[in-house]
Symmetry: C2
Subunit: 121 residues, 2 copies
């Protein structure tokens, strides 16, 4: 079989650290990553990359300079390239990210919150 099957819930059970995306698949130039978030992240933008957030469990918000988007389970939001944003969650939230290979979590923001990139699980 040329294509394996990945179960997202199984993969999520294999890590618990926050703000540290794990790659589960690549599709063309995009990677699919799982991440667990809680609290407030840093303001940042990805100059050349759109970034999709699909909430798998819990709820979160994406703050923008001109407003906020609230996401619950099953909600999808695409942050356009170059757009300053800050992901936040009151409680642990499980998210599927879709963004190009090579995108770091903190974008243009130098920060101790920067996670290792391209970590597969």
């Amino acid at each position: 079989v040329p294509a394996g099957v990945v179960n997202l819930v199984d993969k999520l059970a294999r890590f618990s650290d926050l703000w540290s995306p794990r790659v589960v698949a690549e599709v063309n130039d995009d990677q699919l990553k799982l991440v667990k978030i809680a609290g407030e992240f840093v303001w940042h933008a990805h100059e050349h990359a759109d970034e999709a957030f699909l909430v798998l469990a819990g709820s979160m918000r994406i703050e923008f300079r001109d407003g906020v988007s609230h996401l619950s389970e099953g909600d999808l939001c695409v942050v356009p390239k170059g757009t300053e944003h800050r992901p936040c969650a009151d409680r642990v939230c499980h998210v599927l990210l879709i963004e190009p290979r090579g995108v770091v979590n903190t974008g243009d923001a130098g920060s101790e919150r920067r996670a290792a990139n391209d970590v597969w699980i």
Copy 2:
């Protein structure tokens, strides 16, 4: 707010025809599409496009020339570009597809099963 929120369940409730993907978002060069499938599709390949299947509800299988991948809710499978495959489902299954803009559902297979491309919902 620069980025709207799309609920996948709400979008799925808005159509019932089978094998007819609806675009819900674009992320870089890829589109995210919802599709409902049941029965057996046609054998086909997408010469230049990987295609990801994420099962949102139900179960399905992807037949390959050398085997079969079984997917249930929360399962993800990426069909590599150029790989012959045939999606099938015993009962109606709801799927999120990730594939580049411009990909038609029947790939290289001429077929009356070809759906309109780039239909947004």
